[in-house]
């Protein structure tokens, strides 16, 4: 969340909005304030922990540094010999499909089950041959955003990821765990990479990740990539190898060249807006994205400036 000031600002705003929502989210959303632990493998990464803490602190977000012993107490299933971690206490996880259902229900919007095939300035063409007209159109189609507007340059590239999902093991992992090497390995903009990332769900299930591959659109499981991902995960948490995996998943993230989403007016298409390209932070920053875009559309000043995310910034 701290790749850049703009990413941090959007993430922090979004996190506040999620926290406001959280008290009355239904159980199905599985909102769980488990916190994130950025795990440092060695002294070099501990320096990164301290840098991160200062970065967060100077921007009003309090975090806690854990030494090797405290980390072992916090997460007994991590391997021996890790240097420590940064605990970001108020980070949470949700189950996105049910969160979406809840947000739609609250909005009162009408849901039309149809596939969009094209967007013009005040018109959405549907696959069934019909079209919809509206004064404002928001293209939030993720990696498909560009295909809906062929005349517009939408710099979004697919970046495929894998997850392995386990049976229920309550308490095996207590926080969302991310290796600090994540920044070094996974966020490189070319090539494929894996990083240790485990998320506990409220059910006690674990989501084991993560992998990133550029330019791959196939939803099939890439077995060697999955193998590499699992080797990374068991390197940090050997006990994972014994846990029963019940499902696997792949998805394609919508990545932009500067790792910032595209939010705002669509260049060359009056009345059309884009909200896409959030890569791995789409769920996290969804609420902030919606807030700043709708504020902009209705003429209010957004809580954070829209300028870093404007879709025409790459032009």
């Amino acid at each position: 969340m701290d790749d850049s000031e703009a990413q941090f600002a959007l993430t922090r705003l979004s996190r506040e909005l999620w926290m406001e929502l959280s008290p009355d989210l239904p159980r199905s959303v599985e909102y769980e304030a488990c916190g994130t632990l950025w795990v440092a493998a060695d002294e070099e990464e501990m320096r990164e922990v301290r840098r991160k803490q200062e970065f967060y602190a100077s921007r009003g977000v309090s975090t806690q540094i854990l030494d090797a012993l405290q980390l072992r107490e916090a997460e007994p299933n991590l391997r021996d010999g890790l240097a420590g971690a940064l605990l970001v206490n108020q980070d949470s996880v949700v189950y996105p499909p049910c969160a979406a259902v809840e947000l739609i229900a609250r909005s009162g919007a009408t849901v039309l089950r149809a596939r969009s095939v094209g967007i013009e300035s005040q018109k959405v063409m549907l696959a069934n041959g019909e079209s919809l007209e509206a004064g404002v159109i928001i293209n939030a189609a993720g990696i498909h955003a560009g295909a809906l507007m062929p005349s517009v340059s939408v710099p979004i590239a697919p970046r495929k990821g894998h997850l392995l999902i386990t049976d229920r093991y309550p308490g095996f992992v207590r926080h969302q765990l991310v290796e600090l090497g994540y920044l070094k390995s996974a966020h490189s903009t070319t090539g494929s990479s894996v990083a240790f990332n485990v998320q506990p769900r409220r059910t006690g299930q674990l989501l084991i990740g993560s992998s990133r591959q550029f330019g791959v659109n196939s939803p099939d499981i890439d077995a060697p990539m999955m193998a590499r991902m699992l080797r990374r995960a068991t390197d940090f948490m050997p006990g994972i190898a014994r846990l029963s995996a019940i499902r696997s998943w792949t998805g394609v993230r919508a990545a932009t060249p500067d790792k910032l989403p595209l939010i705002g007016p669509c260049p060359g298409l009056p009345h059309a807006f884009i909200a896409a390209g959030h890569e791995g932070l789409g769920i996290t920053t969804s609420l902030g994205t919606a807030r700043i875009l709708t504020d902009h559309i209705v003429g209010k000043t957004p809580p954070i400036p829209l300028s870093p995310y404007l879709p025409d910034r790459h032009a």
Partner: protein, 380 residues
Amino acid sequence: MKIVIVGAGPAGLAAARSAAEGVARSGADVTLIDGNHSTGGQIWRGGGAPEIETGVATLLNTRVASPDLLTFDKLILATGARELFLPFPGWTLPGVFGAGGLQALVKEGLDVRNKRVVVAGTGPLLLAVAHYLKTHGADIRLIAEQAPWSKLIRFGAALPSRKWLEALRLWNPCFSPSTWVTEAQGTTHVKSVSAGGKKIPCDYLAIGYGLVPNTELPQLMKVDPCALDEYQRTSNPAIFCAGEVTGIGGVDLSIVEGSIAGYAAAGDVEKARAFFVQRDRWKRFGTALAEAFALRPELAQLARPDTFVCRCEDVTYQELVAKASWREAKIHSRCGMGPCQGRVCGPAVEFLFGWKPDSVRPPLFPTPSGSFSMIGNEPQ
């Protein structure tokens, strides 16, 4: 050449036998893989399976969780079938088993002497299971067959005499057509069931609504087990399918299909062709079976709003009825997202709501996570 056969039931065993015979001269090797601790599949569990041919390597207690773990020149998929379960009030109570399920448990050590058992559902398996349980001392109270006499008589008329003799041998006066279980009662264990307007006290209910082919592995390998050439070959020339996975047709059809696939995989097409006539005959039996034991629509009305449909995740009928598709049901209600991976609720919701299953992904069975780190090579 390496021939691999997945599934050691009637089709897989027949395939192994004919493949081993067909390749005996060339020195190719034949490997038979099965998830159970013995060969024979569900029907010959606990005895009755033919001996394994010499020249066939068997790998038992081995489930294929991902095709990436298989290396072969020819592959024969004989993954068989499982029972179809339909939700009704009380079906999640302990003491409610599959029909084949209770039989399997008895074969593996459960003592049913003097237990009062209701056998229910549909298909020839019911009489066979009731007979088996009775010879092991069970007190059969009712055999509830949902199909009507009219269909059963038409089916009987088309049976070869050998099957008639078998039916007579298995006959039980508790057999009741046009009868189905509408509810199982009990709090921590089944105590009685309602069927045909009566309440029947019992210790166990053994209920199965026929069989569902295990098509997950062929699906994952992107071949259709129902679209085969005359040699049981799929659209991928290296992959064959045989037995119940290609459609429910009974043990005789499975053996014939297995033999054809085995010879064909080994390259002996003449020997394979010799079974074509038999296959046609048993396929007609399969068609008659499907017609006679077609499920009546009333069975889709048994679940109440609070009846669980997905037993892994405890998802009720009420939570599902308004969903538009299997995919929507899965992601919004968790239906089918548990360890059975929708093998129980998937066919049930297909019958209840007409939803088609979606794509299949590894692992095909819950598998230790660590086994994934061994697949494939490090990508460059």
